[in-house]
Amino acid sequence: MNPALSISAIALVVLATVIVGFFGLRISRTTDDFLVASRTVRPWWNASAISGEYLSAATFLGLAGLVLLSGTDAFWFPIGYCAGYLALLLFVAAPLRRSGARTIPDFVDARLDSPAARRLTSVLVVLIAWLYIVPQFHGAALTINVVIGLPPWVGAVGVAVIVAVIVAAGGMRSITFVQGFHYWLKLTALGIPVVFLLIASNHVPTEIDPTLIFPLESGPGNQDVYRTVSLVLALLLGTMGLPHVLVRFYTSPDGGSARRTTVIVIVMISAFYMLSSTMGLIARRYAGDLADPATADSVVLLLPSRLIPGLGGELITALIIAGAFAAFISTASGLVVSIAGVVSQEVLGGGVRAFRVAALASVVVPLLVTFVTAPSGLTSSVGLVFLVAASSLSPVLLLGVWWRGLTARGAITGMLVGSGSVALAVIVSSLGIVRNPILDAALAQPAAWIVPLATLATILVSRLTRRAPSTRVDRFFLRLHAPER
């Protein structure tokens, strides 16, 4: 590993990010510019930005590591992330865009006219974003540690500082530019190495029996049906509940373009996931010795120098490092924008200055959490974020868009039941006191029972607190569902 090359790769990404961010800054001066890019972003560019923000450390580094560790089970994560956009497209993309709300709490407030529901949604949005930022910092810490040998905290603090500065300086408009650029950077930084590794692998003879590299027991024939179904449900519904994903749709000019943008996003992230999966398959063949929970997430960083000796391998590693940092920076900054928007409006009273203060504050908490938690697998810790979003926010969003009968009390109950059940399941599961295999699976992958439970609670309490039909809700539904002229 060549530290000089690695450091220059990271420096180049940061420099490019700052330049692109500054280019955006010159035309971003109002609150509208800061928060939603004035709703003028074109579908292709917006789709690049959404994809750039969505593809995080989990799929850039984590997926190959998980394929190496557990086999084809791992492929369900990217399939679920991708299908999550399908669910978002089918149920909420156009209506949420038409609602005119900027953040999820804005939407909930406009729909239910309830400050309490708004506050609870804000708390959940901030919690979900923090949970999601932590693995990005862990990924940065791991990369810096593996490739340069510096202590892990250097990477986490470095990315935190970069993100805080970029977001506070430019807001959403420059973030849109930065993230559109980061999608193409990430695709290149994974695509070129995959091509070279495939070419190189033709020249490296392997005498290993393919049934050892791709054993039946790690293949599709040996998957746990309940766990797979529950995981796919969490990922399918989780995407629409992620705070930084929804805020992006407000930058589309109308509902129809929000839909077209989503289709382009699906194509873009699919292309990336196929590359990332290929990296996992290559890893199984040439890096079987790294198949250990402690080292698996670093396999993408270590693979090139194994297959391509000398400067070529080092250059390709540097490219991968550049892409990985783009992943950490873009996902973390998208999340910080989304919580900074919520916090600045809720707590600090809105305005550009409040947004900047909120952005700085939004970085510090996850950074502290990064220091006190041990890194677990990147992909599974991001899976947890989707689970929380799917259980708490998604049922309320879905019912809010499609069911007139939803009431504020129903929504609050649903969000509390959903998030409370996830917390309970995660805590009990991590204590390791459950011996019953069925119960253990239900706690480890709880979406299959928590999502229906939260939805049911929302509907029941809404029924009990039903009010007379109001024209306010009728008008709101007309706005959500009627196409623009």
Binding site: A83, P220, G221, R260, S270, V352, W402, H481
Partner: protein
């Protein structure tokens, strides 16, 4: 757009030509609540009956479409996974050094997502065009 030119300090010729030099900068702040809910008053005339019927019809059509497609998608996904898991030849035959079952699991599902997404966008657009032509009448 206008505020952008203002804020970047570009001098705009004012209509009455009395203000020399750059215009004063204006701080633009966000109102706390972005989405103003329509006020519900007793005298609220509400939405015209015909419009209300059209929008309900559109909503029902869109929801039916979305549910049909998500169910069809999940069924397709399930059938494909079961097929990949249960056809023995897929575990034995290799493609580029990888068993077919692994390759299909790794790459095969994404085209399904894209196909369903495209079908939805077309059908949803068709529903909205029908709604627009009803509204115009």
């Amino acid at each position: 757009m206008r505020s952008r030119r203002w804020a970047s300090g570009v001098t705009e010729p004012s209509s009455d030509n009395r203000v020399p030099g750059p215009l004063p900068r204006k701080r633009v702040t966000a109102p706390r609540r972005q989405v103003q809910a329509a006020p519900a008053r007793a005298s609220d005339p509400g939405i015209p009956d015909a419009s209300a019927v059209y929008i309900r019809t559109l909503m029902r059509a869109q929801l039916r479409l979305a549910i049909t497609l998500v169910v069809a998608f999940l069924l397709t996904l399930a059938v494909c996974s079961v097929a990949i898991a249960l056809i023995p030849a897929l575990h034995v035959e290799m493609v580029f050094g990888v068993p077919w079952s692994w390759a299909l699991q790794a790459y095969g599902m994404y085209p399904l997502v894209v196909i369903f997404a495209v079908i939805y966008v077309r059908a949803a657009g068709r529903n909205e065009r029908r709604y627009r032509s009803l509204e115009r009448e």
